[in-house]
Symmetry: C2
Subunit: 330 residues, 2 copies
């Protein structure tokens, strides 16, 4: 129970023998202050271990120096890559002397403007975006700054960072084609995500289907959740009905069920069946039957999304930045 009364700017001003406003100008640099005065103020700050009070600052200046990150609804059961986004965003935020507020995006799209409306955050990072995303509509309508991890249908004026999903699928497809496979399955994100219009799933499907045609191979589009059970069931059915299919690409963890199904069907990987998965390298590395994986620099993506947003906050006129981080086969 120490520090009952934290040090205030008034105490610094008194100790340094200057006006309150002078202290403020030393701190913000918004007006010039003479060397001797500046030194006295800085010394007083040092001696009293002064910390500017965030809320007071936010109230007076109208900016909270905080950004909000909305986590996707847990029921989406997406890949654990999110953690890495968050870590990347946290780091970029700290480095730029901002704070990161976390919130869960509940079903209500209105929730996404709450923290900014309350003055607790200056802008928002959204993830797991949809082609037609009501949350983005709200943010636009309210005029709040935001950036996306992921993409949406209309990208004009929007800052986002996304994985180059189409590139990843193309690369993977080219890889299996080169291995001589003539029929390939894509274990895409869960059907509900496709139905909801989850952009990454739509892109994966479209690119997969058109590139398969280009390459002259059969492409089977198989949505499946990431749970082992469901992927196993779907894969088993597929292996039985389409025996000429000897390769699969998964957009995430569906490979676990797939691998189980292959084992049950007595097909060896990679001799008799090829599997390529789009998951973070940190996981690919850790898996026991070493998979052909595609690296997804998620930390980088989180970092970029935060930086874009903060840049926009600092200078309203910053043009929107759009960045596709690309993936490599590993």
């Amino acid at each position: 129970m120490a520090d009952i009364r934290p040090v205030t700017m008034a105490q610094i001003a008194e100790r340094a023998g200057v006006a309150l406003s002078t202290v403020s100008y030393v701190l913000s640099g918004k007006r010039s202050v003479s060397q001797p005065m500046r030194k006295r103020v800085l010394d007083a700050i040092e001696e009293l271990d002064y910390r500017p009070h965030g809320p007071a600052r936010a109230l007076a200046s109208g900016a909270s120096h905080t950004i909000a990150l909305y986590l996707p609804s847990p029921q989406w059961q997406l890949v654990p890559i999110q953690q890495t986004f968050v870590a990347g965003a946290t780091q970029a935020t700290s480095v730029r002397d901002y704070a990161l507020l976390l919130s869960t995006a509940v079903a209500d799209p209105e929730a996404v403007t709450r923290l900014v409306a309350q003055g607790r955050a200056d802008g928002v990072i959204l993830m797991e975006t949809l082609r037609e995303d009501p949350r983005i509509e709200r943010l636009k309508a309210a005029g709040y700054p935001f950036s996306l991890i992921g993409r949406t249908g209309d990208l004009t004026g929007i800052s986002f960072v996304d994985m180059d999903f189409s590139g990843a699928i193309e690369t993977s497809l080219a890889h299996v084609a080169r291995l001589g496979h003539t029929c390939v399955a894509l274990f895409n994100f869960a059907p509900e995500l496709l139905a909801a219009g989850y952009t990454a799933a739509l892109i994966a499907r479209d690119v997969f289907e058109s590139r398969a045609v280009d390459l002259g191979i059969r492409g089977l589009h198989v949505p499946s959740s990431h749970t082992r059970r469901e992927a196993f069931a779907i894969a088993s059915r597929l292996l039985a009905s389409e025996p000429e299919c000897t390769a699969a690409i998964t957009t995430g963890w569906q490979f676990t069920g797939l691998l189980s199904a292959l084992r049950a069907a007595d097909l060896r990987v990679p001799d008799e069946f090829s599997v390529v998965s789009v998951i973070a390298a940190q996981f690919a590395e850790v898996l026991t039957p070493a998979l052909t994986g595609v690296d997804w620099p998620a930390f980088e993506a989180g970092r970029l999304a935060a930086e874009m947003l903060i840049d926009k906050l600092k200078d309203k006129e910053t043009p929107p930045r759009q960045h596709l981080v690309s993936a490599e086969l590993v």
Copy 2:
């Protein structure tokens, strides 16, 4: 660029034809307000879509209604369980109408008091705690409320939630003993973590060694990082030098390297060698050679840690709560 001027309490007061303070009392309930007045105020709030301004509230009341969660330094390379802590804490925080501020705990233990000192948060959640943790010392010295995910040496007066690590090790050990193994290795956390005094690693080591004696089996304590490379090297060396060791317990992802080493040594799992790992069930389920795993309810732990802290914030006199979430073999 809509919403240029957000609605303020003064506008509500004017519209409802009451005093500013009355609006405040309606909102906080700290003084009674007559039914008709209350209704007029609530109607005005509804009509104007009023949102109380967080920073102003924090400034006037001295409480930010926000808690801070410090992520461990990234270089620790701990298991991806952290994500689940964060998700759990986020959820509990939202439910209780608090906000969650994320920050990375840099090396400087002083950083851990910054957000509270700046009035941006009312309390702190710490994870990956050490037996002797300078961060905890600082928080205690400053008199800031906090709760831990993990434990420390001196637990008097401290609220924490931790995994029952000793129970997990005991259970695992009993499990392999029942299978008839007479020499078991413990792949503990990395040597640097042990050296730093990471509590979980110390507990794992101590319990493992004493229980092995009790059960009359040989226990080899083998610290190893979670990287596949290092675990592989260590496991290979171990298999060569201690051929009578036919079982291993890992505290995390070291099993990946271990499994590779076993394959290289032509030992089959689980026929010729048993592996038990302490990792979140969500991952155990997903792994292809289905492992004997120990479930670690991390979401629950994050939730509890946040709840404990918020309870303490709401009522200073709340006694500290200490909670060990226990694990089950799956």
